[in-house]
Symmetry: D2
Subunit: 357 residues, 4 copies
Amino acid sequence: MRTTITLGLVGYGYWGPNLARIFSSLAGASLSAVCDHNAERLEHMRNLYPHADAYADFREMLDDAQIDAVVVATPLKSHHALAMASLQAGKHVLIEKPMAASSKECEELIALAKQQGLILMVDHTYLYSGAVATIMDIIQRGDLGEVRYINCQRLNLGIFQQDINVAWDLAPHDLSIILQMMGESPIMVNCQGNAHINPKIEDVTNLSLTFRDKRFATIQSSWLEPRKVRQMTFVGTRRMIVYDDLQPLEKIRVYDVRVDFPPHYDSLSEFYCSYHYGDCYIPRIEQCEPLLKMCGHFIDSIENHRRPISCGTKGLEVVRILEASDASLKALGGAVVCAEPKKPRMELVHAPFSKAC
Amino acid sequence: MRTTITLGLVGYGYWGPNLARIFSSLAGASLSAVCDHNAERLEHMRNLYPHADAYADFREMLDDAQIDAVVVATPLKSHHALAMASLQAGKHVLIEKPMAASSKECEELIALAKQQGLILMVDHTYLYSGAVATIMDIIQRGDLGEVRYINCQRLNLGIFQQDINVAWDLAPHDLSIILQMMGESPIMVNCQGNAHINPKIEDVTNLSLTFRDKRFATIQSSWLEPRKVRQMTFVGTRRMIVYDDLQPLEKIRVYDVRVDFPPHYDSLSEFYCSYHYGDCYIPRIEQCEPLLKMCGHFIDSIENHRRPISCGTKGLEVVRILEASDASLKALGGAVVCAEPKKPRMELVHAPFSKAC
Amino acid sequence: MRTTITLGLVGYGYWGPNLARIFSSLAGASLSAVCDHNAERLEHMRNLYPHADAYADFREMLDDAQIDAVVVATPLKSHHALAMASLQAGKHVLIEKPMAASSKECEELIALAKQQGLILMVDHTYLYSGAVATIMDIIQRGDLGEVRYINCQRLNLGIFQQDINVAWDLAPHDLSIILQMMGESPIMVNCQGNAHINPKIEDVTNLSLTFRDKRFATIQSSWLEPRKVRQMTFVGTRRMIVYDDLQPLEKIRVYDVRVDFPPHYDSLSEFYCSYHYGDCYIPRIEQCEPLLKMCGHFIDSIENHRRPISCGTKGLEVVRILEASDASLKALGGAVVCAEPKKPRMELVHAPFSKAC
Amino acid sequence: MRTTITLGLVGYGYWGPNLARIFSSLAGASLSAVCDHNAERLEHMRNLYPHADAYADFREMLDDAQIDAVVVATPLKSHHALAMASLQAGKHVLIEKPMAASSKECEELIALAKQQGLILMVDHTYLYSGAVATIMDIIQRGDLGEVRYINCQRLNLGIFQQDINVAWDLAPHDLSIILQMMGESPIMVNCQGNAHINPKIEDVTNLSLTFRDKRFATIQSSWLEPRKVRQMTFVGTRRMIVYDDLQPLEKIRVYDVRVDFPPHYDSLSEFYCSYHYGDCYIPRIEQCEPLLKMCGHFIDSIENHRRPISCGTKGLEVVRILEASDASLKALGGAVVCAEPKKPRMELVHAPFSKAC
């Protein structure tokens, strides 16, 4: 017999309504309460979900013993306090990305969740998309070869955030995917950017990640682009992939092109690159709403007491890189070396991706 | 009565044949000699242009008193020596981009050309394209407002150069356009990059230029992309332009979208961006081969003894930024401040663009 | 004080659920009953709309005096019987396209609605889309000139209908738009097609409509295309429009190109076409779900007792052309002349399009 | 030792200059004479090809015993007379498409070429393109299954011809490909069209070809479209292909989608179509100018005395269908049954396609 996980949602602003919609229709889940300090938003929610309790005071919602898990969809600065309180009250927690405003905050959350034996998960939605699952399959089958370079562009006009810059707003999507594909943390971070609209908040950033063995990734984030762009290129030693998330069906193209990497050079004059050009193929991608899959994975993780794909440690990893990018921005783009070259921690996981839809 | 300018071309490798083709059919020009140390290339040329003299020795070609101007289309390292010798021999000079291997070399060329009273021009071809002329028109009419930010991507698979990195190879195109549109030199340069194939030569670079008053430009150059990408976005205070050079007809889109830039903020809570969304229009662009226009402008400049659009000083400006980018690469992406904040020198010129085709 | 129109929906299969979703959240409307003979579908509906009554027997639903209007979303063959019964019971009626299986059926419905003083409307959804409203604006302002030729393609893989061919399935969308833009009925219809899958039902058809004064329209409909295509070209005497409904934002392109139509020719040798090429612009289109606007227009029409845009007469016009296309198919593509060259009846209406969203 | 075929070209207007350019640089060929009645065109030619003789009088050029073959690139109405005279003079002949103004003219040319033992070839250029060769490979390998349906669109703004309608101008490209892929002639032809600009010459046509066993093809040709469109869809029993000739690299997409065709039906209620969706792949296509390959094939055919791919019989087949389309246009779109259901004559040939570039 299947149990039902009862959820309380805090934050019914920009992203919260999407989570409410999913959880209220998801098998195995029940949305029993929503909290927001804005009375108008709360009233709007009440009309759509008459069976859910509406709270203006988060502490009151936490007192509801029936609630198993709390979903935090508020502005970044309140993530830590709300999630800490939830864990202390014995609730599992799902937090919007980025996980918290600093790596210290993330570490406190991870420690408390571990101590309480509760699930702590971050909503890195793209890790649950069919496109990313397909790319991971291709990498794990060895068809791409070794991943040498990842290039990302995530551009659009606004939404200008008032408390975080464009890297904190948009790059978490790219970072969560890059960490999954690279399978380890970067050893060096550079970030260059500029604040055109609000003089204190960068609206354009170029982030570079250097990994061991000269593997490399770049992320361009912008709120100043008339077109919407969501593109990633994965360069492997055997093939290359272009992932365009705005294509309705043909999101992924696998190019059978490569440059043969010579093992060594005795002199520059001996150096010749060998190109291989071939076909391109467009794999069929499972059509399933990533947000639905992510929410289902949260419910599964609670039921089976299993560490989720996008666990707190992965949320922390993303925040660490964003902190390093802030430091590099302050140093006018200078390199920020990541403290301890860690052993790989971003294992490529696969099984949970193919079961939800 | 119109005179004919007689030309000698040195370098019949990758780009030289295109210049030979143009100059041999251009009114007012006559290709009378081609020099290359490769006998096979020279033989090939002889079949196509039986009336041109073929030289293996550059000094011999220079001795030909009939030659008015020399076109240098050799690898970068020889630009300076060949152009210096040509100027000393009293010939006008057109050099492939980038102009020379260092700003010192460029300065010597500029000084000698001035002293000899000869035309010195760099082949920044894109400055002569219909698309760039149209964008300059839009800017000069004031339709874009002030140019705040330019974002460029120039990506493809190879050609891997063996003596210069991808920034020196591809970024001169973007730099010549940016300098023209911004109308001045940057005050700070950052460059991050990586060498995946040949360990000494970066095949991926991200270049950032900071101008006075926080104006900004970024250039991504790559030899490691399965698709060919040639895109620039111009963000102005009134409109935005996306320029995609690979579109056969619709290269430029002018977006009537903007973010209204508030003049000042008393507090963050007062800060609201105002978006304006509107129509998009695609101006009709004059169809004319830019290389033909560039070559015609060289001939015109000689005939009228007028400083060309892409004069030596502009070639120098580009090389200065590339030198700064090398310094930044060595400093692991750290900022390189440009020596003397110069007064604007990249005036927006227009007249010569509309006459050639 | 605003009244609420109470609705009963019959048919909860392919399209019915969309109508249920819209009407259940539309201001001024209340979905109080749903009828379907499939118990499983009915059960599914009950979970989503617990306040709506579920009926397996349509006569029982009609007996509900509270119901003001019936929405018919069943297979084509039952449209006539269900709508006739509804009108006899004093209910307003909205029918899915095509209106009915023959023009005779349509005429009976129109006559009965008139006699009863009830609203009869056909769901020609596209007439309520922002893109079509924008094209009509452009035509009414005179920017297109006279509409001379309309070319439509509506192609995809399946869904193969089992009772109607691909023209009856897909062409009503194009026909409703063409009739609106041309402002009159065609005088001749040709249809060529073929049945590849089910030997009795054409899965590919090419339909041609000839209007007075040699104006012309063609409609290609196909269930045998691996891509989805939804394109229309409008050729006017002053400009041309391409409408691609699959573009998320840039659905309409207005091309400032035209051929100047000479008024007469004395001889072929005097004939020269004059081309004018110019800019292209992409007007910003109001983002509003057309189905929402259509449903709102039905409610408005009932409240204000006003003839709807897509009234029964327009539904009849579409069915007449489909009947003619069947006759032409049987005549192996031969021309079918429409009985009586009618005076224009498809007036270009505008006001109701800009108020709903 | 290789011989050189000496060529004379008649017609230096729209297409002739392209043929002159190719033949003047093709190994094994020598362009020795060009004929045009326009003195200005002839003067222009003389500057580009100083070694070729210029003729205003075609009879004089024919008297040149050195000329082995004549290339006819004049308006359609003169094809027959010029080609007949050439064959009578013992010259091989290459004619622009369409081959001649009537099937009777074509038959006379075929008969005379046979009697004289000379090569007669029609410039159906697309048969020599890498894209068409790739599609033929796919069909011959059986990957597409049986070809059931081909849908073509060839649309653009003008060039308005003054002597032939848009079907005679544009459809020969599609027809030559369709005949090759279907491997036989159609048994029925329908054509609907309209003349908007010049009242005697259709500028929009929809042509339908019915083959034995209900196989089907449609061709839409238009001079009234602001965009340029060059698309063909091939529907097979196993896969589908979309060929977009305007894509620079990715011209062909092979869709692994199909509808399973049930062998028979006892009743409509038993009828279910089964869809199969899968990946899509984009084969790499050999980059080679089709015109170069076509010209090379003409030279090869002369040298080896072998019947060319696009022989006179194939040119005749295309003209027969165009004649039938004229008859259908006059019959207001009615079906024109092709006289004698012929045995397959369009064998799928392959070998000569892979050798030229």
